[in-house]
């Protein structure tokens, strides 16, 4: 596609439920990032996929968070047993890999997660 697509755009879930957030990167982009932005806060790095290398999971805040990337394309971020502090906008970004586009990294519009 022309850009990075994230779904759903909004998700309201009950505390304790599991959620899955999806990211479709730009076709051919080998690098994919997940970030979290809490209300009025900066971007917190979560996880980074680069080609076939093992992902950098150093930013995942707890073992309730996991992510996978199937076929080197679509990525799913899963949050198990959601807590209210998980409420945030989850952003996905992609790039061609070790090279960069003229526009750096391309971000999706994000998924706004609200845990009630």
């Amino acid at each position: 596609g022309a850009g990075v697509s994230q779904s759903p755009s909004n998700k309201v879930t009950e505390k304790g439920k599991d959620v899955e957030l999806r990211c479709d990167p730009i076709s051919g982009h080998t690098a994919l990032y997940w970030y979290r932005q809490s209300l009025g806060q900066g971007l917190e790095f979560l996880i980074y996929f680069q080609g076939n290398s093992a992902p950098d999971k150093s930013g995942l805040p707890s073992d309730r968070f996991s992510a996978e990337r199937t076929g080197g394309s679509v990525s799913t971020l899963t949050i198990q047993r959601t807590q209210q502090e998980d409420s945030a906008v989850y952003l996905c970004a992609s790039s061609p890999g070790t090279g960069l586009t003229n526009y750096g990294y391309t971000f999706g519009s994000g998924t706004r997660l609200t845990v009630v």
């Binding site: 990032y33 970030y35 806060q41 900066g42 971007l43 790095f45 980074y48 950098d56 952003l91 970004a93 070790t98 960069l100 526009y103 750096g104 990294y105 391309t106 971000f107 999706g108 519009s109 994000g110």
Partner: protein, 112 residues
């Protein structure tokens, strides 16, 4: 560990005046540095990047940034601010083969 710092939570400037949004970095090797802007209820938009070459980088909407290796800084500047520039600005950096790390963001408020 690499890091990016934006020391100011908010910057206020009058329309027509020059603006500066500060950023310092700690990145091993030759850094890749970026500025992004986030307007209310909008996604992150790329403004400019420094990879190599000229220390003064020009980007979108009349913004520019100066890479200063000795001061490990990459401040964002614009000669004449517009009210429409009011937004949240993020500095980001990475080593060539490492992940992209963002600063905490600076809210720019331009007053008419």
């Amino acid at each position: 560990a690499q890091s990016v710092a934006q020391p100011e939570d908010q910057v206020n400037v009058a329309e027509g005046n020059p603006l500066t949004v500060k950023c310092t970095y700690s990145v091993s090797g030759n850094p890749y540095l970026f500025w992004y802007v986030q307007y209310p209820n909008r996604g992150l938009q790329f403004l400019l990047k420094y990879i190599t070459g000229d220390n003064l980088v020009k980007g979108s909407y009349g913004f520019e940034a100066e890479f200063n290796k000795s001061q490990t800084s990459f401040h964002l500047k614009k000669p004449s601010a517009l009210v429409s520039d009011s937004a949240l600005y993020f500095c980001a950096g990475k080593a060539q083969t490492d992940k992209l790390i963002f600063g905490t963001g600076t809210r720019l408020q331009v007053f008419p």
